[in-house]
């Protein structure tokens, strides 16, 4: 067991999209029986085999930080949330496939997390504009997950999935669509499980890259 410096992944998204259920599913391979509101931040740990199946296989812990709240919260809540955005290695953006606004809010969420310093000094006004160049420049691994797939009727599926494909492209990220109450979607060997595994592997590659190449995306610890 390699005890590395922490590997921290943020799980962001609007209130009620299913982040807590998702995190529970990823870490404990079980469906969350009684989801309730997340106040503040709840953390869970996933044991991940880096480079599984190869001779260099190593086991690491990945911390999934599920930050609760909404993009429209008071600025005092936003400042408090900003303390969780320290030294992050990857972000999972979660949206609800049945609610378009939650997908649109993902831009604001990612701006909030990636611009932590600006949020604290209140220079940045998060009003939904996002900078394409920043995302093209961004090397931090992102993953977009759409939940409540079971509630989308068969006939509308194609349209919804096209929309989410555009969304993932904007973030330069992989995307997964699933239903958090059904472990079948993340069964070992399924394409979703492979994508997740690849995402976590990317985290380590990003970590092992020399600091010079990570130009804009390591944050200073708060002094």
């Amino acid at each position: 067991m390699a005890s590395l410096d922490r590997v921290k992944v943020l799980v962001l998204g609007d209130s009620g999209v299913g982040k807590s259920s998702l995190v529970h599913l990823l870490c404990q391979n079980q469906v969350l029986g009684n989801p309730s509101w997340t106040v503040g931040c709840s953390v869970d740990v996933r044991v991940h085999d880096y480079k599984e199946g190869t001779p260099e296989e190593k086991t690491y812990y990945i911390e999934l930080w599920d930050v609760g709240g909404s993009v429209g919260s008071a600025s005092s809540v936003k400042s408090t949330r900003a303390v969780f955005y320290n030294s992050v290695n990857g972000i999972i953006l979660v949206h609800d496939l049945t609610n378009k606004k939650s997908s649109q809010n993902l831009y604001r969420w990612s701006m909030e997390a990636l611009n932590r310093d600006l949020v604290l000094t209140r220079v940045l006004v998060t009003n939904g504009d996002y900078d394409r160049e920043q995302f093209a420049d961004n090397q931090m691994p992102l993953l977009v997950i759409g939940t409540k797939l079971d509630q989308i009727h068969e006939t509308k599926r194609h349209e919804v999935l096209t929309r989410t494909a555009f969304l993932a492209e904007d973030f330069n990220a992989e995307e997964i669509n699933l239903d958090c109450t059904n472990p079948r979607y993340l069964a070992a060997g399924s394409s979703n499980a492979v994508k997740i595994s690849r995402f976590f592997d990317k985290l380590f590659e990003y970590l092992f890259t020399p600091v010079i190449l990570q130009k804009s995306l390591t944050w200073k610890e708060s002094a």
Partner: protein, 455 residues
């Protein structure tokens, strides 16, 4: 002919109000949600439109616009529609949406919501018994019966909100009550929060590794569920799963602590912002206003007590009294009729506008605080219900602020309600609400500094 013109004026204004309610719903209330059930939005806008029309008719009454008989007709019609909405439609839809949220009862939505509505009607009817609100001359399904009950609920709401508002307003405006918060306090709390998160993470790492080794060894961790499960786990338990349950309990306690710390930190940030705001010009202006409002609040509490103790209900409205005083004591002569009309128009107009605005702002804040994507429909309907009842009772109470000649239409339309009862009831609830708000704010204020100023 004039009836048609009058009706078209009223209906146009109703459509305008409907549009305003629609916009308010979309832009303010449902900013972060997707509207999937348009019925909810329609109901909210319709309630808002008809409530505003009632106020509009009062203003028309004072100004003498439109024909008197067409005004009367529209009053009656408006009242019927509003009562229909408040008593039949909104409660039924609330029951329907509540049941739709529960997965189990999905199939039998309709009959169960009818059942819920019947229960609501039963309690609504029973509400009228302990109150002496009607002269016993009327039949069962008359407007007076329904309005009297709606009035009781609405007046209670109004008094509660007024009482709390009257106390909370100076408390928020005045900077005298602001606790002193420094940056070091905030940093210290943040550090504690992050430390707690670290401890939680290390425990979860142990649990994850233990689960993995158990899984690889073929053991299965059964969480003790139910009574027999706990009994069984006492006698036969693998050492691994025992450990896990222990650690899980520790983690639960730590997570609760982290939530508390998060809320406290958010509170400190909010206080710090308020301190900064109070140093600006706007902040100083509001601070100044706060002193006036506190005097006004004390005066209102005093008047409410006097009214109750001396069993006094005001007979004349403020406008006529003011005019009497100026004419009799200050000796200024002016055209009483002309001025009383205009002054009461302005006074009533201000009361209406501030109460609508205040209510909408309070509702929005309330909505943001407690709604989630599942319950947003139900909450909006509840707010529409509250809004409707609030506006109906405002009409009841506003009667007291108008000179005698303008009260007639309200008295005519609403029938023989005991208006004095409603004013007495308002005073009582206002007093109770204001005093308990003072107590509540005092306790909250006292408790907070002890937590943060600890070394």
């Amino acid at each position: 002919m004039s009836f048609l013109i009058d009706s078209s004026i009223v209906i146009t204004s109703q459509i305008l109000f409907f549009g305003f309610g629609w916009l308010f719903f979309m832009r303010q209330l449902f900013k972060d949600y997707e509207v999937r059930q348009y019925a909810v939005q329609v109901i909210f806008s319709v309630t808002f439109a008809f409530s505003c029309t009632m106020f509009e008719l009062i203003i028309f009454e004072i100004l003498g616009v439109l024909n008197s008989s067409s005004r009367y007709f529209h009053w009656k019609m408006n009242l019927c529609v509003i009562l229909l909405i408040l008593i039949f439609m909104v409660p039924f839809y609330i029951g329907y949406f509540v049941v739709s949220n529960i997965r189990l009862l999905h199939k039998q939505r309709l009959p169960i919501s009818c059942l819920l509505w019947l229960t609501f009607m039963y309690f609504f009817w029973k509400l009228g018994d302990p109150f002496p609100i009607l002269s016993p001359k009327h039949g069962i399904l008359s407007i007076e019966q329904l309005i009297s009950r709606v009035g009781v609920i609405g007046v209670t709401l109004m008094a509660l909100l007024s009482g709390f508002g009257a106390v909370n307003c100076p408390y928020t405006y005045m900077s005298y009550f602001l606790r002193n918060v420094t940056d070091t306090d905030i940093l210290a709390l943040e550090r504690r929060l992050l430390q707690t998160m670290d401890v939680i993470i290390s425990k979860k790492k142990r649990m994850a590794m233990a689960r993995r080794t158990m899984f690889q060894r073929g053991e299965v961790h059964n969480k003790p569920s139910g009574f027999w499960g706990i009994l069984k786990s006492v006698t036969t338990s693998a050492p691994g799963s025992e450990n896990l349950t222990l650690i899980q309990q520790e983690v639960d306690a730590l997570e609760e602590l982290s939530r508390q710390l998060f809320l406290e930190t958010a509170d400190l940030y909010a206080t710090k912002e308020r301190i900064e705001y109070s140093k600006t010009f706007k902040g100083k202006y509001f601070n100044f206003l706060g002193y006036f409002f506190s005097i006004y609040c004390v005066w209102k509490i005093f008047m409410a007590t006097i009214n109750i103790v001396f069993d006094r209900v005001g007979k004349t409205d403020p406008v006529t009294r003011g005019i009497e005083i100026t004419v009799n004591y200050l000796g200024i002569q002016f055209d009483v009729k002309f001025w009383s009309q205009h002054i009461s128009f302005i006074l009533v107009g201000i009361i209406i506008v501030t109460s609508i605005r205040g209510l909408l702002i309070t509702l929005t804040k309330f909505f943001y605080a407690i709604s989630s994507s599942k319950s947003s429909n139900v909450i909006v309907l509840l707010l529409a219900q509250i809004m409707g009842m609030y506006f109906v009772s405002s009409v009841l109470l506003i009667r007291m602020s108008m000179p005698l000649e303008y009260r007639t239409i309200i008295t005519e339309v609403l029938g023989e309600l005991q208006f004095n009862f409603y004013h007495r009831w308002f005073d009582v609830i206002f007093l109770v609400s204001a005093l308990s708000s003072i107590l509540f704010l005092y306790l909250a204020h006292k408790q907070a500094p002890e937590k943060h100023m600890a070394p």
